[in-house]
């Protein structure tokens, strides 16, 4: 009979899993403890082990591969790359992620499943529909994601780093979403201001833009920016006059490249927000960006946020990449790092 065969296999699996648990260090137990706790931020800890270092892999492959309907390739394509695995730290009143299956066949097994992925599993059901809290948690995360698109970066934050502001021809958020081409061009006034204010032909030009997530800039700029400045100093590289671009797309780098002719340009820009992280920042880097630069010539470090590449680490890493770009006089797929 099928069922007795299943039961035997389940038994074997359970014994194996139990053995593994006893042999292995306490990591799995920590996850279980996190999931069982009641602390407001426990959910984040419980998911900490779920996303390995592989997010960086994607940044180095998919993100610069250009646009397309291909889900496999477009997940992080050009203007709006994003991938993340962590809950927002302010999961707040939704509390800890835990199984809601009332009588699971194997309780501990279920806890292990939850610890292995940030996907919303073990959520149970009312009939065939989700439970109320799960449904509302989903709406909460969607609201946060949408909010980061329509949000703005605060002036005091920009002032703190002495960033003056220029705009692209994006007009307003709705138009920004419909017309990526207009987010690639700085307005005439903006271009004049850049010419009047910025050092020409800098070694490294730093530009910050809200892109698709103002929250990403708000949450990460301070740490990334400070460590990037430090890193450039350590590498012996000279930065030009930094500024903020409102309504920017990745390829705005090319227009700025024409205006200032930098050797290298670093654009810190908010990514397309996901439900599990709406505060993810990307650093796009290019050697001598100019009009007509192809996407595959940009190097990207994506997924910069608390649960992905930590912002402080990212800043230091960007400095290293920029140095390699200047040494090899190239960037993107041609860069050997």
């Amino acid at each position: 009979m099928q069922s007795s065969k299943l039961a035997l296999e389940q038994l074997v699996d359970r014994v194996m899993a139990e053995l593994e648990k006893r042999i292995a260090p306490r990591a799995a137990d920590q996850d279980a403890a996190g999931a069982a706790g009641t602390g407001e931020f426990g959910g984040k800890a419980a998911e900490g082990n779920a996303n390995g270092g592989a997010v960086g892999e994607k940044a180095s492959t998919a993100d610069v591969s250009g646009a397309g309907g291909d889900k496999a390739a477009a997940g992080g394509a050009n203007d709006d790359s994003a991938e993340a695995a962590e809950s927002e730290a302010d999961g707040g009143s939704f509390g800890v992620r835990a199984s809601h299956v009332p009588h699971p066949k194997w309780e501990e097994g279920l806890t292990e499943l939850l610890a292995s992925t940030p996907a919303r599993i073990g959520v149970w059901r009312a009939g065939t529909r989700p439970l109320t809290r799960e449904l509302l948690k989903f709406r909460y995360d969607h609201a946060a994601a949408v909010d980061s698109i329509y949000g703005t970066v605060s002036q005091p934050l920009l002032d703190r780093f002495g960033l003056f502001t220029v705009e692209t021809c994006y007009g307003n958020t709705e138009n920004y979403l419909k017309r990526p081409d207009q987010g690639r061009i700085i307005t005439e006034e903006g271009a004049a201001l850049i010419r009047a204010t910025c050092k020409r032909k800098p070694q490294v030009q730093i530009v910050v833009s809200d892109g698709l997530s103002a929250n990403a800039v708000s949450a990460n700029l301070e740490d990334v920016y400070m460590s990037l400045i430090d890193s450039l100093r350590v590498q012996g590289l000279a930065a030009g006059t930094p500024f903020f671009v409102r309504g920017g797309r990745v390829a705005v780098m090319d227009h700025i490249g024409e205006l200032l002719e930098p050797e290298a340009l670093v654009l810190l820009i908010g990514e397309r927000p996901g439900l599990v992280s709406s505060k993810s920042l990307s650093a796009y880097m290019c050697y001598r960006p100019r009009l007509g630069t192809v996407e595959s010539s940009r190097t990207v470090l994506s997924n910069i946020h608390e649960g992905g590449t930590p912002p402080v680490e990212a800043g230091a890493h960007i400095g290293t990449i920029v140095r390699a770009m200047l040494e090899q006089r190239t960037s993107g797929v041609h860069l050997d790092i």
């Binding site: 997010v55 397309g68 499943l113 940030p118 919303r120 059901r125 419909k178 996901g274 439900l275 599990v276």
Partner: protein, 453 residues
Amino acid sequence: MKLSTNLFGKSYRFRDLKAVMAKANEEKSGDQLAGIAAEDAKERVAAKLVLSEITLGDLRDHPLIPPEDDEVSRVIEEAVNERVFAEIRHWTVGELREYLLRQETGGEQLRRIGRGLTSEMVAAVAKLMSNLDLIQAAAKAEVVTACNGTLGHRGVLAGRAQPNHPSDSIQGVKASLFEALSYGIGDAVIGVNPVIDSGDSVRSLLEATKDVMTKWEIPTQNCVLAHVKTQMRAIRGGAPADLIFQSLAGTEKGNDAFGINVELLDEANELIHRQGTGAGPNLWYFETGQGSELSSEAHHGVDQLTLEARCYGLARRYRPFMINTVVGFIGPEYLYDSRQVIRAGLEDHFMGKLHGLPMGVDVCYTNHMKADQNDMDNLAVLLTAAGVNFLIGVAMADDCMLNYQSTSYHDIATLRETLGRRPAPEFEKWLVRMGLMENGKLTPLAGDPSLFM
């Protein structure tokens, strides 16, 4: 071919057939971005009127992208059944619409007429159809395909289990897959989008999904949605793939941007037939989506609906097991809001079915699009009514790797129960054997992923 009309006391004259086709479309941000959309509702209806009087023969005689310049055009042109076409070449596009909607026109007639149509003709008629037209006509088509299981029988709504994980963790993928199976989802395919596009990674995901299928004797098929070249490497290395996957564009240049061409697809086709693990005879899984050609500047000034139809013309060559349009994935610059996504989902499904394809839809949106989960609920119901072969199942609709929202395991289970649809027949028998389903309804056991540990 008449390219002008008088309406609202004004004469509308269109530059060429390309302009008529583009301006006859329902409003799409992608056509606006390309600068080819109708100026306003009046121009749109004028273009529809002009298009409705153009004959199918005219459409064929005036290719939008000449076969000499584009291999997708050649594939489409060579596939036309000349006997069927000869019977209908004098029909106008308006007459074709009415033929499709007539009560005497059933599934068989639809299948036959589809073989005499080019993708441009299919796109043209879709432009004249209302949403309900698209639903009714598509519902007539029954496109059944077979690999290890079968898809597409009338009354069946299948679901792809899409157990993605942000770092391809095998354990994490299995966790989401167990959840899917426990809700009765996975009959269309167990299909994973990998983060890492390498032969080794693809191989380990194929092996892991195959292991689960073997252990629990699940009558379905597996697939890892990496680039076709990567899958070929994995399959040549012995990886167990039932289906081979690729995203398609509607122009040669667009496919060039995807790193594929007909020669490569032919090669992959031979490989999956010789070294794939699927029973067949249908061994391909394709994905498409309006807007990809424009995003790679490979659109030749042709509108995104027509280009999407051309993807189906290309797909038809390989007799796929399944194909879906990832309708709201690419972003608001192509489909701006829920209204446009819903329209595109219905159009794509209809056009695929008229091509004789086993059409599914990834009912989805990104967070920068003006749409939410309620809109997806609506579109999923409309598509189920239209007889869609399958939908995509993601845990709570939130794909934690691709960062977009689709339809959930719960949603597919709900659509089945509410609209009287069943899983694929072999898969339903398996669900019953597992104690997860009785008389087409989930049992109290359903929803517990630890059943599969």
